[in-house]
């Protein structure tokens, strides 16, 4: 991997007595799709929230182009955040606004573009995710898949360098999942952005990833390209990929 846009070093985080991340190391290559897989409740979301500074680590570094965001004050952190877009699991659209207003929100807040320019740009990204016609609807009036696409449109409208996805395909039917996967691949290519996806959808992971990293017990236990990951002989990874209830990962110990 040539050039890593994000470097995570010895990241640790505990909530009360529960150690969620234990000196985790991970590199995210620039301009590629990295998928982090792992069990539900295994700390994937916690990891993602550290990358965008929603959570502060107990120790360790998160370097984004060399800037350690764990130590930056709020103002500087916000400058770094403007380089990110994020798609939340349930979309996290503002339910008091229409789809159009939701998508335009980052531009309204952070740019001085004219209303006309904002409108054009909004149309453009809504077209990219296939949501033309739903502009005036409220989030509660559209389906889960549409909400995710609207969330994606909002995440990309301000032309970020890095897009984070929190389980983009969870709760969707297989066809919509495949559609979202295609959208992610398409947008990644078109905008040449770095994508970080957390997921436990193995099928979709192998379909879209350039790099896969498996998080287990607070650490990255295996990482590599999909081809490499298929051959690694790690019993935890094998069990997860094969989706078996038999193996070293016990169902009871985690929940």
């Amino acid at each position: 991997m040539e050039d890593n846009i994000i470097k995570i070093r010895k990241l640790s985080k505990r909530f009360g007595t529960q150690e969620v991340l234990k000196e985790l190391d991970l590199d995210i290559p620039k301009g590629q799709i990295t998928v982090i897989i792992g069990r539900s409740g295994g700390g994937k979301s916690v990891l993602l929230k550290h990358i965008i500074g929603l959570l502060k680590p107990d120790s360790g570094e998160i370097l984004i182009d060399g800037i350690d965001i764990a130590k930056e004050p709020e103002d500087k952190l916000n400058e770094v955040r403007k380089r990110f877009g994020m798609l939340f699991q349930e979309g996290a659209l503002f339910d008091s606004m229409t789809i159009e207003e939701n998508v335009a929100f980052p531009l309204l807040e952070h740019t001085n573009l004219s209303d006309k320019e904002i409108e054009e740009r909004t149309k453009e990204v809504l077209a990219m995710v296939g949501l033309i016609g739903a502009e005036k609807k409220y989030p509660s009036e559209i389906s889960g898949g549409m909400r995710k696409r609207a969330g994606l449109a909002r995440a990309i409208i301000a032309k970020p360098d890095i897009i984070l996805f929190d389980e983009p395909t969870s709760g969707l039917d297989p066809i919509m999942s495949a559609h979202i996967d295609n959208l992610i691949v398409d947008i990644q290519k078109r905008l040449n952005v770095t994508c970080i996806i957390i997921s436990h959808d193995i099928q979709s992971t192998f379909r879209i990833a350039h790099k896969i990293a498996m998080l287990y017990d607070g650490k990255i236990i295996a990482e590599g390209t999909p081809d490499v990951m298929r051959t690694i002989d790690n019993p935890y990874l094998r069990q997860f990929i094969e989706g078996s209830s038999q193996g070293p990962i016990q169902v009871v110990d985690n929940e």
Partner: protein
Amino acid sequence: MNRIIEWLGKTFIDFLSEAGRMLLLLIEVVKQTIKPPLKLERIFIQMEFIGVKSLFVVILVSLFTGMVLALQTYTGFRRFSAESMVGAIVALSLCRELGPVLTSIMVTARAGSAMAAEIGTMRVTEQIDALTVMAVNPVKYLIVPRILASVLVIPVLTIISDYTGIVGGYIVGVKLLNINEGVYINRTIDLLEMSDIFNGLFKSVVFALLLSLIGCYKGYYTKGGARGVGKATTEAVVLSCVVIFIADYILTSFLF
């Protein structure tokens, strides 16, 4: 015995940490208010919701409070032939006490609860995280407009409440109980001072700050889904009401 001490200690620590977090939130609110830009549009939207839409219920409650107050004082004062004082008592009680308290309680029920529920729902559906991720400070975006709007609009509601209550008292005292109109009005004007009204308005500003801060605080720190939102809303209303009554006593005894 140990259990009791443990419980007392825990309750005390919980209380302190909650008060501390609320204070920190208030400090953050002040910081974010001073920091430009201040978007007036958001404040106006909240003023409409908190103020204009509470107007009807405030008027209704104040009118009947003024009416019953006149009725009750009349019953008592007649026993020593002091009916002429009814108007002054109604006006004093309303301006010094009932106007600000009733208005704040009604706004708590209507708008304080809505603040907790709305912000709480945004918290549990990750909308607040979404704001943060988009580099928009959620305190500035959500809480500052609500608190500023409350502090601006609740004193205005209080003036309206005072006025309506006095009108209610007048209707009952003069029109129904046949107290002499001139005496009723003159006594009121003689005994009611501007300072009574201003003290009441000062109280209403304090109550406004408290109820909006508590509503926003409870919403902002909501945890755990729909149930969490319900809990936050209930707690916001109960805590606001209790704090308003306590603050009312403290303000009355120390300041006026």
